[in-house]
Symmetry: C2
Subunit: 405 residues, 2 copies
């Protein structure tokens, strides 16, 4: 098998951990597999580099920020290649500029356009384990680019697709994808298998195991993903097209997110461009909007709500307040003491009643729902933040996700 | 004027110092000059990277050590380019692989073979200040190489030569080249001008202002070098072909070196291959030999001495002891409590009596000379380490080098 393995920052956070990763790669190699390794920067190295840049100036030029940040992964690939060689596995480090991982020229958030495989194939053919720097690439100009936080997952999938690998393994500090965060619900269960769609909804809704873009990329090319614990045995979650297929339960998992803030406008005169006029200035300020709900009251007025990241709440409130000054009766309200809970599962597609059972569960616990949004395989509700923990536990039990069900 | 400026590690040791360097470059640019900047790694960054590699394994593979060490300069060029842009000077960082500084493929001590100037000329033409990573290059294979400690000086001179710059300025934490180390002799004087030859002897004999290879390189191509203080005004030492010409005094400066250790063999049967047989195993062990003295006693025996770096003393003693086991009467002696003093000056060439005056000065102070070696413009003596300070001060006065002479 040709396997691409990606190790995240916490998995290579110290020389000791890097030597352990080398041991694991050596083992996989000794079992007769061809291996390509992708590595992130060590521990909090990227944060420390960002802090250093901030000491130079408040807004560093993006081209130079990329050149600076790329050193984080360069350090870890060099150290892991040293560790592999020291444990008897011939290995060579490769940077984004060396492989060439070709990207767009948008610094700090470039998109991978193509991965050249010549050097990697030569290295594999000569018996080397290529150790490739994640997160970084090269623009047509020859400049170093980076592809945004969490980008190493995407580098790994892009390499796996380009090399036609048998699977792409993401090794991390958890042993797989769970029905919900085990820190909140102790009897949360590890999921053996998931579909790309389910993983996308879980990742997008705040589950931090895999980066969203990497799952989209894998889904697009049908690359099999496997989440595994980087240190320790067993476990893991397989993510592919099938998921659990016809055996899929109603709900596969529950994601939640505490970073939400709500902005609401009541009693706006209804008009076709109402949502546009309120959201356009928010979008123009580069503020990402998550849930959007509009409700017509039937008396010619409408209520409108949306959620943003908490860091953007004050600015979003200000922008919306300016946008509605022409309507004397309209009022803007908002709070950043809210959290979002999402049920995810391909089973929802063909089964009604998931929403009803969720609302019943929340009502029994006396928890009010502030906003609702849905997709084909997801239902999300916005709640008071103080109610989140009870809501996740009760829903986890109500949908039969707990370990002893 | 087109000026290449090189800033060493202590000059860019913190974000605050990097901003000060940016201010200085901005000033030079505002005076109507074209500027290319070469930078070393910040402060002790290279040492910290070497320590990190040692935590992975005792002897890291050289290819990966180079990839690791190159991050040190990558960090400083990115930060300096940010600082320049922040202070209104358009600037772009370039790595050895981007410029391309082409080197041999001997990792950790590659030789610069050629510097491509296309990208730098384009950047200059477009009004940018190129900020180039010192110490690093790229092998024909595309692998990152480094050119050895102190290599950034050599990078700067190579760039200046390739770009046909008007001069190459080395900015450092001292304000010029002195008649001797001012920490030892408080009234040591700064030299306004020196010839390449004198600087080579001073650099080679332990004066740490400039790296030896960079002076050789400048001498070969006649590139004017100027040593300047990186923070603070004035001063400086100009180094070119002329030096002070006919006005040159007998002695320009005194260098000294405390890293010496002596190995001596007495009463060896004299033979044509004596020096070869003793030094060959030392050279084979990659131990650098500095002074070499052989004295035939006239009775068919000879005494032989040489000096090595103190770190290599034990090993050199062992190798020589093995080499002479066939000679029962020969004895090996050695000490690492010695130091070397060197007088340097083009004036020596045409004036006899320098050695005599030196020996007189040392004799007056009761200091014994253990070894002597000479070149056309230098005379070096090996002394007890405890006598070094008095010897340097007395010689500094005897040759009229002190500030108030």
């Amino acid at each position: 098998m040709l396997i691409v393995q990606k190790y995240g920052g916490t998995s290579v956070g110290s020389p000791e951990l890097i030597r352990r990763v080398a041991g694991r790669v050596a083992h996989l190699r000794a079992s007769g597999n061809e291996v390509v390794v992708v590595v992130s920067a060590m521990g909090d190295a990227t944060d420390r580099l960002v802090d250093l840049a901030r000491e130079i100036c408040a807004v560093p030029v993006p081209r130079e920020l990329d050149a600076l940040l790329a050193t984080g992964e360069q350090v870890s690939v060099a150290l892991l290649a040293m560790a592999l060689n020291a444990s008897g596995v011939a290995a060579r480090s490769y940077l984004g500029t060396q492989v060439r991982v070709r990207t767009s020229d948008v610094h700090t958030r470039a998109r991978i356009e193509a991965v050249e495989t010549g050097r990697l194939r030569d290295a594999l053919g000569a018996g080397f384990v290529p150790v490739v720097a994640g997160f970084q690439g090269v623009a047509a100009s020859g400049d170093i680019t980076t592809i945004g936080r969490g980008g190493s997952d995407t580098t790994a999938v892009a390499l796996a697709v380009a090399l036609k690998a048998d699977e792409c393994q993401i090794l991390t500090d958890v042993d797989g994808v769970y029905t919900t965060d085990p820190r909140m619900v102790p009897d949360a269960r590890r999921l053996e298998r998931l579909s790309y769609e389910e993983m996308l909804e879980l990742a997008g809704q705040g589950s931090r195991v895999l980066h969203l873009r990497s799952v989209e990329f894998a889904a697009k090319y049908g690359m099999v993903l496997r989440v595994l614990p980087s240190h320790g045995e067993g476990g893991g979650t397989l993510i592919d097209r099938e998921g659990r297929g016809v055996e899929a339960p109603l709900v596969s998992g529950i994601a939640f997110n505490r970073d939400e803030a709500q902005v609401s406008v009541a009693r706006l005169p209804q008009s076709a461009d109402l949502a546009y006029r309120l959201l356009q200035p928010v979008a123009a300020a580069n503020i990402e909007v998550d849930m959007i709900v509009l409700n017509a009251n039937g008396d010619g007025t409408a209520d409108f709500s949306f959620t943003v990241h908490r860091d953007d709440h004050v600015e979003a409130m200000r922008l919306v307040a300016s946008a509605i000054t022409v309507h004397p009766h309209a009022t803007v309200n908002g709070t950043d003491r809210v959290a979002k809970l999402s049920l995810v599962g391909v089973g929802m597609r063909s089964h009604a009643g998931v929403a009803a059972r969720l609302f019943e569960t929340l009502a029994n616990a006396g928890i009010a729902v502030r906003l609702i949004s849905t997709s084909e395989i997801r239902i999300s509700v916005l709640l008071e933040e103080t109610a989140l923990e009870v809501a996740v536990r009760d829903a986890h039990r109500a949908f039969g996700l707990s370990g002893n069900d």
